[in-house]
Amino acid sequence: MNLAYFLSILVFSPLLGILVLSFLPRTQESLIKTVGFLATLPALVLALIAYFQYRAGADLEQLNEKASWIQFGDAGQLGNLFSIDYELGLDGFSLIMIVLTAVLSTLAAIASIHIKKEWKGYFMLFLLLEVGMLGVFAAENLILFFIFFEITLIPTFFLIGKWGYYEKENAAYSFLIYNGLGSAVLLIVIMVLFARTGTANIDALMAAMNADNPQLVAPISENMKMGMLIALLIAFGVKLPIFPLHSWMVRVHVQAPPSIVMLHAGVLLKIGAFGLIRFGMGIFPEQFQSLAVWLAVLGVVNLLYGAFLAFVQTDFKMVLAYSSISHMGIVLIGLGALNEAGIQGAIFQVVSHGLIAALLFFLVGVLYERFQTSNIQNLGGLAKGMPITAGFLLAGAMASLGLPGMSGFVSEFMAFLGLFKEMPILAAVGTIGIIMTAVYLLRAVLGITYGKAHRDFAGITDMKKFEFVPVLVLVGLIVLIGVYPSVLSEPLTSTLETIMLGIGG
């Protein structure tokens, strides 16, 4: 696969859809939806090609792209002090994230059929969001990463604020402010690194920060490094989210349209984990080690806090929102363990939860479309009226609580394996969370499927044809990872090796 511009085409292919959409009249509902869906396909196809080629032994480095972009800081004879290149590239981890993004985008585009108004604007923003998400994972330098990171922010704000539910504008503002602050902190770190080292390239930064006598524009003290890592933790902690920075995310999960929550829970939250692993661990390995215990503690807190709050919710969307917080705790636990099993578990959890959350929120969308509610009690007795939907709901819950044979099990198992090796007592406390997960999920899902029926299901159709596509794809992937984890673990091998080398494990 020796293709120049392969990655650029992959990342920017949704723009083609935006271009086509801008020429369509805004009343052509089905045409707009079809174009919106089709526009997500090129990225999906290219991402899959890259994945299978990589599995077949091709080298990802061929895909790297580099073009000079901005030079400033003119220092006369010294030349330009600062230059930012346009650099895209992939490693195993980011390749997997790109595949995840592309798959979920296509499925969310299908789920967008439920959108009721202003389809044209919706799909233009949707596709712009996809560009941002793909770009975040493909960016090879921090400035570019930040630019794509911010590009995801704007469409998401509008998608929540315009197409969401009752309190959509509050949710959109709370999203904007929390994430705005998060990215502000991130920007400070990026600018300090860039100003002091003179490079924003991630690999170059890793080398520069960990060399014995690095060539820097200005010195960086040990305290500064620690400060920057903590700042990174806050910036990505907002995104992940880490307790107590989570309140915006609950609101977004409840108020945003389900198709957007699929992307939000499936990909956008994962940028936090991606950033922590790639930049936190990669650039500041020594400092990361000294913070590892705290990460593990935060992880257990997240896990338990999310689980207990999910237990008392009456709205299924709230259950899922707190469940996301709880599951992100497992990512932190895996990272805190700082050994191979733990980190691998964390990455697995990132992918696995992305798929499971997308599945469950898609089903929420299906239910809301029919009943205009996501209240557990009101939905009771679903198994009688919509047996197929109820069955998939149960499957999603089983995956989420970590039933062996599904992806959730593999990731939780590995993350805890890692933590038990390093901090057994903390891990033991954490297992309470695993039990709680089973409890709250079963309570909610059984309440919906077998609970007392409060309504008449006559005239309600079970899943329609198009609704089967996302569900079957997602369940298929979840089971595939569950029974054959090497679809994920093999591409990750080289990334993990690099990380382990950095932290000296």
Binding site: I70, F72, D74, A75, I147, F157, A218
Partner: protein, 504 residues
């Protein structure tokens, strides 16, 4: 001075100024002899043509070595050329906005004055950017200020406009007096008004009393000039004047006049105080010793501008506070005094010029149609005029510093400049980033109106051609410099030689 020396001067370097002066005179004469019934719009186009001619003649000077005439009172160095470029482009666009301005009340008869006062103000700003002497600096400053005072009060039968002109005159005179007082100390110490001679003389002062006086002069000059920049502590006039003045004048004040303010503050501070000793043991020059003072003003300005903007419902007041905040960001550039201060300042002022003028063109159109300046007027703009709404959204995103726009690249440069020095200005950068997030609130508030709220009236919107041009140019520039900023950086580096001749 006899005729021979007078003729021996290289008058060619003043061509742009002569063109503007000539056009301003011609406009006033045309206004005088034109029949009352005839529309004065034609004057606007003549003025526009004059600015374009001046721009062309200025471009012809780019690349030549610096020259000065009239005993070094007028100098055309890289700094002057680069910033005159901004002044001329900004004024040309303001003039287009003014041509597209359809006054509701009592401006018809004075429309001619409107145009040639703009030219006079521009002339003042251009003189400031080229002057090497306190006298010419001050004359330029006054020419700009007095023309602006009249412009602000142009809507004679409008109470707000009268109030704004009054406040502007009073505040402006106080500020000018303070500046002048500060300058008089420097003159008293050095016995000359020439900036270069002053700077040479001041390197050798050692008397502590003198240094103390010089410090006092520094404070007074900065405080007085903060009026033109609309930064703390002299920012209070901005909201009232911005609200009351006709929209093209507001646009002029927020862009051209502000640019002129930064020009004069750089001319004075970095000519006079760059070499003066500060009296401390390490032999730090005064400007570095007093860096924190400017940093403090920058921080205060950013906080005040962004926080008070949150509570504004009037779009022009909102933009007044927004422009205060933007001036705060620009002060960060001066406070950090990095190697590439001039480049950063130039780029951000340029980006600001386009995004702010584009926004003002839209504001003028929207508010004029309804006669109200409440941000509710933007409700449902996306339904009525999608292009206008998307253009406005991009200007707002650029003002908020979102990637993909020129505003982001400008902010990026400012951060770099502030963080590069060994003791980076972390606090200042943090304040800037935090207040930027605060600014999301009010910039996005306008967008919420445009995209989320239903429209009050659903009539289609027809935009005058002159405004379309301004919006189109601004939009293109905002996106172009956001995606390919190197066009601007290459131009700067290729033509202005790092502004080294500023200090020669």
């Amino acid at each position: 001075m006899d005729l021979e020396t007078l003729l021996s001067y290289e008058w060619g370097i003043m061509t742009p100024e002569f063109i503007i002066l000539g056009v301003a005179t011609a406009l006033s004469l045309m206004d005088l002899f034109m029949p009352k019934s005839q529309s004065r719009k034609i004057l606007g186009w003549v003025g526009f043509a004059g600015i374009i001619a001046a721009l062309v003649s200025l471009l012809g000077h780019i690349g030549h070595s610096p020259e000065s005439i009239l005993f070094d009172t007028f100098r055309l160095d890289s700094f002057a050329k680069a910033f005159k470029l901004l002044l001329l482009i900004g004024s040309a666009m303001v003039l287009l906005i003014a041509i597209g301005y359809e006054p509701n009340e009592g401006l018809e008869e004075f429309r001619g004055e409107f145009f040639y006062l703009f030219m006079a103000a521009l002339l003042g700003a251009m003189i400031m950017s080229s002057s090497g002497d306190l006298i010419t600096l001050f004359v330029g400053l006054e020419l700009l200020s007095i023309s602006s005072y009249i412009l602000a009060g142009m809507r004679k039968r409008n109470l707000h406009s009268n109030e704004s002109a009054m406040k502007y005159v009073i505040n402006g005179s106080i500020a000018t007096a303070i500046t002048l007082f500060g300058m008089s100390y420097v003159y008293g110490l050095t016995g000359t008004t020439n900036l270069k001679e002053m700077s040479g003389f001041l390197t050798s002062i050692y008397n502590e009393q003198h240094i103390y006086l010089l410090g006092l002069a520094f404070f007074m000059i900065v405080v007085g000039l903060s009026f033109k920049l609309a930064t703390a502590p002299f920012h209070m006039w901005a909201p009232d004047v911005y609200q009351g003045a006709p929209t093209p004048v507001t646009a002029f004040l927020s862009v051209v006049s502000k640019t002129a303010g930064f020009i004069i503050i750089i001319r004075i501070l970095f000519s006079i105080f760059a070499n003066a000793p500060s009296g401390d043991v390490q032999g730090l020059p005064m400007i570095l010793a007093l860096q924190d003072y400017i940093a403090f003003l920058a921080g205060a300005t950013m906080i005040i501008g962004n926080l008070i903007a949150l509570r504004q419902r009037n779009i022009k007041r909102l933009f007044a506070y927004s422009s205060i905040a933007q001036a705060g960001y620009l002060l960060v550039v001066i406070a950090s005094m990095s190697l590439f201060m001039f480049d950063t300042l130039w780029f951000y002022l340029g980006a600001y010029l386009f995004m702010n003028l584009g926004a003002f063109a839209i504001i003028q159109h929207v508010t004029h149609k309804s006669g109200s300046e409440d941000i509710g007027q933007f409700a449902g703009l996306y339904r009525r005029a999608p292009f206008l709404a998307i253009a406005m959204a991009i200007f707002l995103l650029s003002l908020a510093g979102i990637p993909g726009t020129a505003g982001f690249i400008g902010k990026l440069n400012i951060f770099m400049g502030a963080l590069v020095p060994n003791e980076g200005h972390y606090v200042l950068v943090s304040i800037m980033i935090a207040t930027t997030v605060v600014s999301y609130f009010y910039y996005f508030g306008v967008m919420v109106q445009m995209f989320f709220r239903p429209a009050a009236d659903t009539g289609k919107v027809k935009i005058p051609a002159a405004l379309t041009a301004v919006i189109g140019i601004s939009l293109a520039a905002t996106i172009l410099f956001g995606i390919a900023p190197n066009i601007a950086f290459d131009f700067l580096q290729g033509n202005f030689n790092q502004f080294t001749d500023f200090f020669q």
